[in-house]
């Protein structure tokens, strides 16, 4: 019997993870052995998928040099999630929520969302707020950064601190960087009366090498340890007609190694190839390959086209169905075997005094990106019985350097 579930079941955006992603990109900026340019960047992003989840998330990021060797970055983001299938008690999947218990759950969700200001009739089922502050300091030929991010929503809170160091050698032909990220998350599902912790620590390293005037290469590695509550409390595992909470190990060690190569094809175009191998102690492994092509359409317009393919193996304790309760049980399809493909399109337009978009001069830049994503899991998703997810991601950004 299908029970109405919370938005997060579809697992599109889980909160602490976004903070992690942003932290990494900040560290990456740092590793360019130069202070980031003074700029303000506003992004308006949208996500829609075939599981009826829609997310709108505007964000603003401001970067400013405080001295010739110090820069500060501040960021604010809001995630607004809407899940029509959840609201309709899973009408897109197997069965329908029809019991009084499900109606009570739905009401409780509404009550919670009402309490947070998003009640019945509201466009959004869940809202997450995130704020971050970071500092970048030049030290000789090296760079050091420290960043802090705090994220909060009704049922999840995350605090993250990240630091990184990079050092250049051989006239900046070689750069070695190391990073450290630590997150303290608190999980407090609305359908439960408990609160659990989740801690994540990541060590990373990368080496970038200029191979010629036309080729740059990079190798990267990461080592992550997770501990605490590592399951999703909104998911349920049905065993012999009984719905049970998933049971995951309390610890996980995750490793990844990747390489990227970027080379100029012609004066106006470039190509980037990348590969990543991932493995962990839950026996999940994956291979990721990507190609990205960029080309100038004119002196002010750059178009990009990318493809990405991903192949994942199954976690050791994942089963399409369980005959009995075992040490570990799960329905999380992210632990299942499967594959995905993605097609990305990017358009960047630099403002120019000769066009209407350059009313702020040549310091303004407009970015548009669209991606089409398809994921296949070998086991049907428990919520709607579908093995395939289709999604589209759209972002419009304005970047002004001052």
């Amino acid at each position: 019997m299908l029970r109405a579930r919370k938005v997060e079941d579809v697992g599109v955006v889980k909160r602490g993870g976004f903070a992690f992603g942003w932290v990494f990109c900040l560290c990456g900026t740092v590793m360019a052995q130069a202070l980031p340019e003074d700029e303000i960047q506003i992004n308006f992003s949208n996500y829609f998928d075939s599981f009826d989840v829609a997310i709108i998330y505007p964000s603003v990021t401001l970067t400013k040099k405080m001295s010739k060797s110090t820069s500060v970055t501040g960021r604010y983001l809001v995630d607004m999630v809407s899940a029509a299938s959840i609201k309709n008690a899973g009408s897109s999947g197997e069965g329908e929520a029809s019991s009084d218990e499900d109606e009570e759950y739905q009401t409780r969700v509404d009550a919670v969302t009402s309490a947070s200001g998003y009640g019945e009739g509201s466009a959004f089922d869940d809202v997450r707020y995130e704020a971050g502050l970071g500092f970048t300091q030049l030290v000789g030929l090296g760079t050091m950064s420290v960043n802090g991010i705090f994220s909060r929503e009704n049922d999840y809170q995350s605090a993250t601190i990240a630091s990184s160091l990079s050092q250049s050698f051989a006239k900046k032909n070689t750069t070695i960087g190391v990073g450290f990220v630590r997150s303290w998350d608190t999980v407090s599902p609305e359908t439960k009366d408990w609160e659990r912790d989740k801690n994540v620590t990541t060590l990373s390293a990368n080496v970038s090498q200029i191979l010629s005037t036309r080729v740059v290469a990079q190798v990267l590695g990461s080592y992550t340890t997770e501990s605490g509550y590592l399951a999703d409390a909104y998911q349920q595992v049905t065993i012999n007609g009984e719905d049970l909470d998933p049971i995951h190990p309390d610890n996980r060690v995750r490793k990844a190694a990747a390489g990227r190569l970027k080379f100029r094809l012609t004066e106006k175009s470039s190509m980037q190839v990348g590969y990543r191998y991932y493995w962990d102690d839950w026996d999940v492994t994956s291979h990721t390959g990507s190609l990205n092509y960029k080309r100038y359409l004119s002196s002010n317009v750059i178009v990009g086209l990318g493809v990405r393919s991903y192949l994942q193996g199954r976690a050791s304790f994942f089963k399409p169905s369980y005959d009995q309760v075992e040490t570990f049980i799960t329905t999380d399809i992210k632990l299942d075997s499967g594959f995905s493909n993605e097609l990305q399109f990017d358009l960047t337009i630099h403002g120019d005094e000769n066009n209407l978009l350059g009313f702020l001069g040549d310091k303004i830049q407009y970015n548009l990106s669209v991606s089409l994503y398809q994921r296949h899991s070998d086991t049907p998703y428990w919520f709607n019985g579908s093995k395939d997810l289709l999604s589209t991601d759209f972002n419009f950004g304005i970047r002004y350097r001052f």
């Binding site: 130069a34 202070l35 340019e37 040099k65 001295s67 010739k68 250049s168 050698f169 051989a170 006239k171 900046k172 070689t174 005094e353 040549d362």
Partner: protein, 172 residues
């Protein structure tokens, strides 16, 4: 572990700059270069003046930030025996011209074309931009790597010292 440590040392050694580049306190190496106007000039032609060598390129963000400041600095001090030589290393002259055209005030000082990077190699430039202050006797007095807004005050102070020798103190 020994191999790793040894290789790290190797990397560090390779990364250490061998100081064959001109140093502060030494005579600035002379060179000949063609200007954007088609004239041929030598650094020694400017002996007796305070000279700033500015190695720059249109593709370099800090260089683009520095150029308007140098334009103003030159305009304010050219009558006092001050000269700026903007040594451009763009592969293509048209890219340099496109950038200069967008400036509010086009530089009144000479722009030298070094698209073969010979002068940049002579001075073993390690950062873009590199700004070198040379006194009237042809001695390198100040050497700046990169440019941010905070450099403006330093440049003004150093220029003032060079233009007023009685107040000059030993360069750092």
């Amino acid at each position: 572990m020994k191999i790793i440590v040894g290789l790290l040392i190797l990397v560090t050694v390779f990364g250490v700059r061998v100081d064959a580049a001109p140093q502060i306190g030494q005579v600035a190496p002379d060179f000949e270069c063609v200007t954007a106007d088609g004239q041929t000039v030598r650094l020694s032609d400017y002996r007796g003046k305070v000279v700033v060598l500015d190695f720059w390129a249109s593709w370099c963000g800090p260089c683009r930030e520095e150029m308007p400041f140098l334009v103003d600095l030159y305009r304010e001090n050219r009558e006092k025996g001050f000269e700026v030589l903007g040594i451009n290393i763009d592969n293509k002259k048209k890219n340099m011209e496109k950038f200069l055209t967008k400036l509010e005030d086009r530089p009144a000082f000479s722009i030298l074309l070094d698209n073969e990077k010979k002068v940049a190699a002579l001075y073993e430039i390690e950062t873009m931009p590199t700004t070198i202050f040379i006194d009237p006797q042809g001695i390198i007095r100040y050497w700046h790597h990169g440019f941010t807004k905070s450099h403006k005050k330093e440049y003004r102070e150093e220029l003032h010292l060079l233009l007023n020798p009685d107040k000059r103190r030993v360069a750092k």
